[in-house]
Subunit: 451 residues, 2 copies
């Protein structure tokens, strides 16, 4: 009988993260202070991030050692299994081999914990007692709550009010790990109080929640702020995914023809793809690296590459990336984690340079593939991860068409057990695609800063 | 650094289930036809179960080979990891070593899939096209839905109406795997229609749902019924848990001083404990086998050992077991899977003969330990499984008191991601203990059949 799961031993876990800034043919242009138009320096970021993370943001060292304290926590769920999706292959009647890396086994249910743990660790050794963050759908908030709990820091989460009310399971999970929760806009910050004075019924947005979290952090010496995607140090931490996957594929004497992940801010795509991008940059492989995004929020496929703000309020430095414009409001698709106007500068640069590529799909096709995957493999995928699944299904069918036994690797970034209401929508045939129209795209891009 | 997870290779998976009926000093008295007072024969059960399962119910062969088709599905999640709870040990400051078997990694989120898969398989090879069952909280319904989906059988689930309305996540999960769901009482059976005529607002009970599922199965030649606990063949299938755990402990040169599991119908307790009970019966070990139940439904600790019906309606054969009486209505504690008036005849006999022992605890203490475990190990446990955790915590503290480095093994029968509303009750300090009073116990036992 055939082997299904490929487990790495704990002793063979990667001991360092891979920093793709060491090897990129072109680095992204640096983050810029919007007022001075000068590159942002470490001092600009020190009020909200610890120096260790600020240095990881800019270093070109190839390998960054993973601290022992982080390794010990990683071992609660890492190395994550690599699984051969044999039943999915059979259902598609494809000669392709489909492997997936299962990041849903983390206690947080997603890959987000890979970066939450080191972020909290570096803040702790710099003496921080509290960390603030924002969360929309809740995956990042859960990860940071757990990481803070593991290291004994207080975690303050500003959760977009509409999600706070509509996603009680995720809220309770954060509370179970001891997080202090605020429905944003809240009366805990000037920003929140101001908004509530003008509009007491405001249901919040990610942009407002970021503003509240940053204000809370800046106001106190014992407090920093943490971000769950987009930035270089976040993607750095996520490379454990791809490093493990590479070793696991070697164990079964495989190398992928294509590596696929969904892409919102870009951290799970970067995490699995960067270690393979290294091979491609070094001309040792022709592996295709495919970022899959929703057609409702097609940042990499249809956005503009240049400077834009990372947040809606315009508090952050300007980042050089693909963007639809910070004021772009994506429709309320069920993959909440992919509703972001920008994309990681590192991922954007790789796409711009032709090292990675991007595809976009509508959510009904994505859910079709997600449910097919669930019925074959048993795992309910997160709606975000179902974008990667759909990309893999497309590739497997193309391999069948071509009659080629291609090897496909995709990242299952998280499970969907707390997203079951979205599946109810799908099963009741209430899902609709809302692809970005040419008109809306034009409007969205008009909001880009003039630089 | 220390090893946390002990993985077994797929090639070392047990190839046979262990049948404790081969080795028990005393077998339970046989199931009895309530009308004739004669032992039940295979023919009595044939309308609802396939012959392979009926034979597994009564055989005294020690090893029952696991079919290849079942092994292939088991490999989607088995062997499940054995994990050393180092952070929990540290939090308790105990010299004890605490290991847990993580059955929550199954696609169904609990151990229930271990028996759902072979039950569907044996029904399929006997030509069945449909399987019916009942579900209360929903764990068993999810497992049978998934197993039917894997083998292409139709699954019909009668879900207690109050749960159908209050647990939409579990309902949606069953639907995602293609199950046909009925809120019970339904208008799909005579039983249901009769109840609804008398009381259109009836919110259902497990007893009514069983009656509907059995009626549906008896009425059609292509349909059987499936049960998720209590019966011998169910516990047989669950012994994969204990067989794997034994091998995994051997890999780290350990043997448990005590094995702990929660106990409702008894299948997860039997699953982990029976392979160790073998050693004890053969005088090769003095391992303690501890079944933990809620003080609100203390079947093994305070029930009566003798014949009783397995269901509320009195449709089933009489089983020789510990029982609180089929009419006993346990309070609405959050561990819905432990709200059962009886206990497996095999487990009951082992407790009666002093080979296993039982403990009961109130749910506030159980949730205290469940949340402590979550904060240490990262995993939100099912409220049922938290009973085992609480038992393990008690043992670890006793080891500390005694200054002994005892080895504790417990079964984490499932995760609690779909039980988060219960955690919200706990965190808001709304949970109360409802231990069974002497008066209620007297009343409950008065309902036992006079045989």
């Amino acid at each position: 009988m055939s082997k299904v799961k490929i487990f790495l031993e704990e002793k063979d876990m990667p001991r360092a993260w891979y920093n793709i800034q060491a090897d990129m043919p072109n680095l992204p242009r640096p983050a810029m202070n919007p007022d001075t138009k000068e590159p942002v320096g470490p001092g600009d970021l020190a009020p909200i991030f610890p120096m260790a993370l600020i240095m990881q943001e800019v270093t070109t060292e190839r390998w960054i050692e993973i601290p022992d304290e982080v390794m010990e926590i990683y071992k609660l769920w890492r190395p994550s299994p690599l699984i051969r999706a044999r039943r999915l292959e059979k259902a598609l009647d494809t000669p392709a081999k489909i492997y997936y890396k299962h990041e849903g086994v983390s206690p947080a249910g997603s890959h987000k914990l890979n970066t939450a743990v080191p972020q909290v660790y570096y803040n702790k050794i710099e003496g921080m007692k509290r960390l603030t963050t924002e969360t929309g759908a809740g995956q990042w908030g859960i990860a940071l709550s757990q990481a803070c709990n593991f290291f004994g820091l207080e975690c303050i989460v500003y959760m977009v009010k509409i999600s706070f009310q509509q996603k009680p399971y995720r809220r309770t999970m954060m509370e179970a790990f001891g997080a202090r929760m605020y429905a944003s806009p809240s009366d805990n910050t000037d920003t929140g109080r101001q908004i509530l004075r003008e509009d007491p019924d405001n249901m919040g947005s990610l942009g407002m929640a970021i503003s509240e979290a940053v204000e809370d952090a800046i106001g106190r010496d014992d407090t920093h702020y943490a971000l769950g995607s987009v930035l270089n140090h976040v993607l750095l931490h996520q490379t454990v995914i791809g490093l493990e996957a590479k070793k696991q594929l070697e164990m079964v004497e495989e190398y992928p023809d294509v590596v696929i992940a969904c892409c919102g801010g870009g951290s799970n795509f970067g995490g699995i793809a960067f270690p393979f991008a290294y091979d491609k940059i070094k001309k040792e492989s022709k592996v295709r690296l495919v970022a899959v995004e929703p057609s409702a929020c097609p940042t990499l496929t249809r956005g503009h590459h240049g400077y834009d703000f990372g947040d809606v309020a315009g508090f952050t430095p300007l980042l050089c990336m693909y963007s639809l414009g910070k004021d772009f409001m994506p429709p309320g698709i069920h993959a909440g984690g992919l509703r972001y106007h920008g994309a990681s500068p590192l991922v954007s640069q790789l796409v711009k340079d032709g090292i990675a590529e991007a595809q976009s799909y509508g959510q009904t096709a994505v859910f079709d593939s997600g449910v097919l995957f669930a019925r074959c493999e048993g795992i309910i995928p997160a709606p975000e991860s179902s974008h990667a699944i759909h990309g893999a299904v497309k590739e497997a069918l193309a391999a069948k068409e071509a009659g080629e036994a291609r090897t496909i690797l995709f990242n299952l970034s998280g499970h969907g057990l707390l997203d079951l209401p979205s599946y109810e929508f799908y099963l009741n045939q209430k899902l609709v695609d809302q692809p970005l129209s040419e008109e809306s795209l034009k409007q969205a891009l008009a909001g880009l800063p003039q630089i």
